[in-house]
């Protein structure tokens, strides 16, 4: 079992090794557990060599996109401009709470990862952007940074190497969209957290218009382990027949599941074993109905679809979904899927930054239709409208919040259409008889109603 439960023997604790161990939170405790060796090693290396180790390890972005971390770092060239590292700790994807545990229990692991990455990208300044609601992680990371400064690990002469490494901790103000990388940069700059148009990409013009690398908390923490223990060690973890996904990954499990919590397994772990063996399946002898495997933005899987899936980027893609952030949301047979999906849509409608027309209006419209269906006032046309709105919301906006809202709706409608139809049919009084217009007008009379 994963934290906060006793560890399951099939877990591979790398990042989560010291979860629940208060002694690991302090600098002394962290050093006693092998801390800051990675940074010391990295500072003795050429930045390009550090980039290459991470590149060789196959470590990919753990925030959701899965972009190879070493390649991202290698975009940063010593061009004389100030470089910045942003650590994205704005973990706000519904169902995801892995970074919170890293920051709560092993804040020094994150500081070490951030400092290591800063060296690798020629940056003197790094920002750790922590979600506004994360009070305890914020305190832990702030304390760790303070300790690291006091010990000379950070500052003008980091670990006595003459290299300047400054880390600032920034508290977000509570917007989901600020987890989007360019919105996070706007937020850090003191502006409204609106995503920026790309290009220019952050590696060209990011924070304060300067070359910037932005990585997830888990990615940076894992990178320190990679530097200390080598690319080969990291590469060895994963499905042998899939070298594209390597290492371990934290999965946050919540919903109708016997043992919710954070689990760390090697990528490529069988999803079936994960759900039923590690997490204990649905509680109280019920059956799992559906699973959102990678945070609320990814397509939903049915229980049957989960059986043959491997938990890595390629495995999830093969099943028509995404590994995402690793936030596993489990629904059992008591779950009302239309209501669950409406709740997700409401979240996105609430969090849309309001820049792009499709997202601002589409998320709210989707929500209103879904909530109307849940009130028993839906029509069968609504289902087609939902899919068409989703189509218009996908791939057309500055960031992917709009797509993220459309995705669970579309997959939920495809896989659980009968549940939606049942709600509509019930309202009709005679199940499954489509009615053209909810007002009861004939199509001709409804004609060009606005």
């Amino acid at each position: 079992m994963g934290y906060p439960h006793p560890r399951h023997p099939r877990e591979t604790p790398v990042l989560s090794e010291h979860f629940g161990d208060p002694a690991a939170r302090t600098l002394a405790g962290w050093k006693a557990r092998g801390g800051y060796q990675a940074l010391e090693q990295a500072l003795a290396m050429d930045p390009v060599a550090v980039q290459n180790v991470v590149k060789d390890s196959g470590l990919r972005g753990r925030g959701g996109a899965g972009f190879p971390a070493g390649i991202k770092w290698s975009f940063m060239k010593p061009d004389g401009k100030p470089h910045y590292l942003c650590c994205n700790g704005d973990e706000s994807e519904p169902g995801t709470f892995k970074d919170r545990e890293i920051m709560r229990w092993t804040p020094h692991a994150l500081v070490e990862g951030v400092a290591t990455a800063m060296h690798a990208i020629y940056a003197e300044t790094g920002y750790i952007y922590i979600r506004g609601e994360f009070t305890e992680p914020l305190e832990a990371v702030t304390a760790a940074v303070r300790e690291a400064y006091a010990a000379g690990i950070l500052g003008a002469n980091a670990m006595g190497t003459g290299r300047r490494l400054d880390i600032h901790v920034h508290k977000g103000a509570g917007a989901y969209i600020c987890g989007e990388e360019t919105a996070l940069m706007n937020s850090l700059e003191g502006k409204r957290g609106n995503p920026r148009i790309k290009p220019p990409f952050p590696a060209v013009a990011g924070l304060f218009g300067k070359p910037t690398t932005i990585n997830n908390v888990e990615t940076l923490t894992a990178a320190a382990h990679v530097v200390r223990r080598g690319a080969e060690w990291y590469k060895a973890m994963g499905r042998p027949d899939n070298p594209k996904s390597t290492g371990t990954k934290l999965f946050s499990v919540c919903g109708n599941v016997a043992r919710p919590g954070n689990y760390e397994v090697t990528l490529g772990f069988p999803f079936k074993d994960f759900l039923w063996e590690l997490c204990g399946g649905a509680p109280d002898g019920r059956r799992i109905k559906a699973v959102i495997p990678g945070g609320s933005s990814v397509p939903i899987l049915t229980a049957e679809e989960c059986e043959a899936v491997f938990m890595d980027y390629e495995g999830m893609a093969a099943a028509g979904t995404l590994l995402g952030s690793g936030g596993v949301i489990v629904f059992d047979d008591t779950a009302d899927m239309p209501r669950q999906i409406a709740r997700l849509a409401r979240f996105y409608a609430h969090e849309s930054c309001a820049q792009c027309s499709q997202c601002r209006e589409g998320t709210a419209w989707t929500t209103r239709i879904l909530e109307r269906i849940c009130r028993g006032e839906g029509s069968f046309e609504d289902l087609d409208t939902l899919l068409e709105i989703g189509e218009q919301m996908s791939g057309k906006t500055i960031c992917v919040l709009s797509d993220s809202c459309a995705t669970p709706v579309a997959s939920g409608l495809r896989k659980f259409r009968h549940e939606f139809e049942a709600k509509i049919g019930k309202k009709q009084g005679k199940a499954f008889v489509p009615s053209a217009y909810p007002t009861g007008l004939t199509p001709a009379a409804a004609g060009s109603a606005p």
Partner: protein, 537 residues
């Protein structure tokens, strides 16, 4: 952090090509690198529908209306925020792009009140236009619409949030061009609206531009509110008379009444903007207390209406008999009028004018653009025509001088000096009350909205204005009246057209050398030796 040692100087890379060639809707175009697809499409004669993009504002890329299909791109690209690349093939009107636009239009309309019949913007609304062109005939929206109350933004601006499509043009204008960031996007999702900073109003001297920039009926001019429908208006190119900047404007009239002044873009003078003073500087053009017929003082000593021929002859006689002639000109007269006045004045006479002044109000984000201290359009022209600027121009009057008042309302003058005048002749739009008992002849003329001509702005740019409405009564264009008077005095032949006056003026005044009336076009040209006319051309 050390830069890698550069190897022995490699051959310098070839200079980047100075132009990029691409194909837009099958039309080849060649544009400088860095141009957006949207601007390149304009050159191809293709309008990419858009809302948030405006050439005078930073690119936002938020309305997603200008999505175009670029071959080999995985997704539709925003034309406003995508730079051109060599060999690109862009489709603006294919199914994929049209379908996306249809989607945007449907989204923009779901919360829109569809109150075009009572909306001031109707008829000049881009939401209306594009929906008519390529939107859905109906909406699938069945939910209640979002509602927000109308808000007075202060100044001349009213905000109707229900019509707002959140293109943020107004926000960007206030923050980047006016540099007075009082507007913002407040709230998130479809609850978002344009907010105004607490305790601040849209009182910036240039804030009214947000009304023009708004592509829909969300920001309205209180001055124009419910005054006229856009399709009832007649529009004429003109030049603002509010100050010496010479902003290019459009005078909009309904039933021979000027009802609105809007800026006309001229990147060399006013970009796309006009200030509040300029926008509201039109009511005087509609004055009803005009001089409408020529008046001559009869034998009984009273002013009586006269035929034009007699009135002109009387005026010419009076002026020609002057021991010394002082011409008091308005700085709002055209170059043509001022030139003919200088003929009438002759070498022995004296020409004077006065310019009202007020505080200068620059538009920070635009080069060399301000509401100027000189609140008249043609002080520079008057100087070039040999008129002298005085704070108290009547001080030039010596005992017994004949005074010609050329369209001057005498505001701000020390009228005691009038007692020194001998005969007084008025040629203008009104007959000032102080002169009624003293004037020998009064000839009615057109005001700036009723005739055509040119002004010279403070940077020496000569710009044409056109006639916008008909003159009252028997009033005739100023240049025509003055030309006839000059001819009757034996000082040159009367011109047939304003272009004739301009040609004569250009021949007599070296500064205007090389300029022709037709060649000025509607954006004007600088006089010789003028300081570069403001801005970038």
């Amino acid at each position: 952090m050390t830069a890698p040692a550069s190897p022995a100087a490699p051959a310098s890379p070839p200079p980047p090509p100075s132009t990029v060639r691409l194909t837009i809707e099958g039309i080849p175009v060649e544009v400088p690198p860095g141009t957006s697809i949207l601007e390149a499409a304009k050159q191809a004669g293709v309008l990419v529908p858009h809302y948030c993009y405006h050439p005078g504002l930073p690119v936002a890329g938020v309305c997603r209306m200008c999505l175009v299909d670029v071959e080999k791109f995985p997704k539709l690209a925003p034309a406003c925020a995508t730079a051109v690349a060599d060999g690109q093939v862009v489709h603006v009107h294919n199914e994929k792009a049209k379908k996306a636009r249809e989607g945007v239009l449907e989204f923009l309309l779901i919360n829109h009140p569809l109150d075009c019949p009572i909306c001031d913007q109707a008829g000049e609304c881009e939401l209306q236009d594009y929906t008519f062109q390529e939107g859905r005939a109906d909406s699938r929206y069945r939910e209640p619409k979002r509602f927000n109350p109308v808000e007075d933004f202060g100044g001349d601006v009213l905000y109707v949030p229900n019509r707002c499509i959140l293109c943020t043009r107004c926000v960007r204008f206030m923050s980047d061009v006016a540099q007075d960031p009082v507007l913002n996007v407040s709230e998130r999702g479809d609850r978002a609206f344009i907010g105004k900073a607490e305790g601040h109003d849209l009182t910036h001297a240039w804030a009214g531009n947000v009304v023009d920039l708004c592509p829909v009926g969300a920001l309205l001019s209180k001055d124009f509110l419910n005054k006229a429908r856009a399709w009832e208006l007649d529009r004429s190119a003109s030049v603002c008379t509010g100050c010496s900047q010479g902003c290019n404007v459009v005078l909009e009239t309904r039933d021979n009444v000027v009802v609105r002044v809007k800026p006309r873009s001229n990147t060399a003078v006013n970009q796309y903007y006009a200030c509040e003073t300029g926008r509201l500087h039109y009511r005087w053009m509609n004055r009803r207390d005009r001089l409408e017929v020529p008046l001559v003082r009869g034998e009984a000593g009273v002013l009586v209406p006269a035929a034009w021929e007699q009135a002109i002859a009387a005026a010419a006689r009076t002026l020609a008999a002057a021991p010394r002639l002082v011409v008091l000109a308005s700085a709002g007269l055209s170059n043509e009028a001022l030139y003919l006045l200088s003929r009438i004045r002759g070498p022995g006479g004296e020409g004077v004018f006065r310019v009202e002044t007020g505080p200068e109000a620059p538009l920070a984000g635009a080069p060399d653009l301000a509401l100027r201290a000189d609140r008249a359009p043609n002080g520079r022209g008057a100087e070039l025509m040999g008129f002298a600027r005085h704070d108290q121009p009547l001080a030039a009057l010596q005992a017994g001088d004949t005074l010609l008042v050329a369209d001057h309302d005498l505001a701000g003058l020390d009228l005691a000096a009038l007692d020194r005048a001998g005969e007084i002749v008025v040629i203008g739009t009104t007959l000032p009350g102080e002169l009624v008992s003293r004037v020998a002849v009064a000839l009615p003329t057109c005001n700036v909205a009723e005739e055509e001509g040119t002004f010279t702005n403070l940077r020496g740019r000569v710009q044409r204005f056109l006639q916008a409405k008909a003159a009252p009564g028997e009033a005739r264009p100023t240049w025509s009246v003055l030309g006839d008077v000059a001819e009757a005095m034996g000082r040159g032949r009367a011109p047939m057209l304003p272009a004739d006056v301009f040609a004569a003026l250009a021949g007599d005044h070296p500064a205007f050398g090389g300029l022709t009336y037709a060649g000025l076009g509607l954006r004007g040209l600088p006089v010789l030796d003028a300081a570069p006319a403001g801005g970038t051309s």
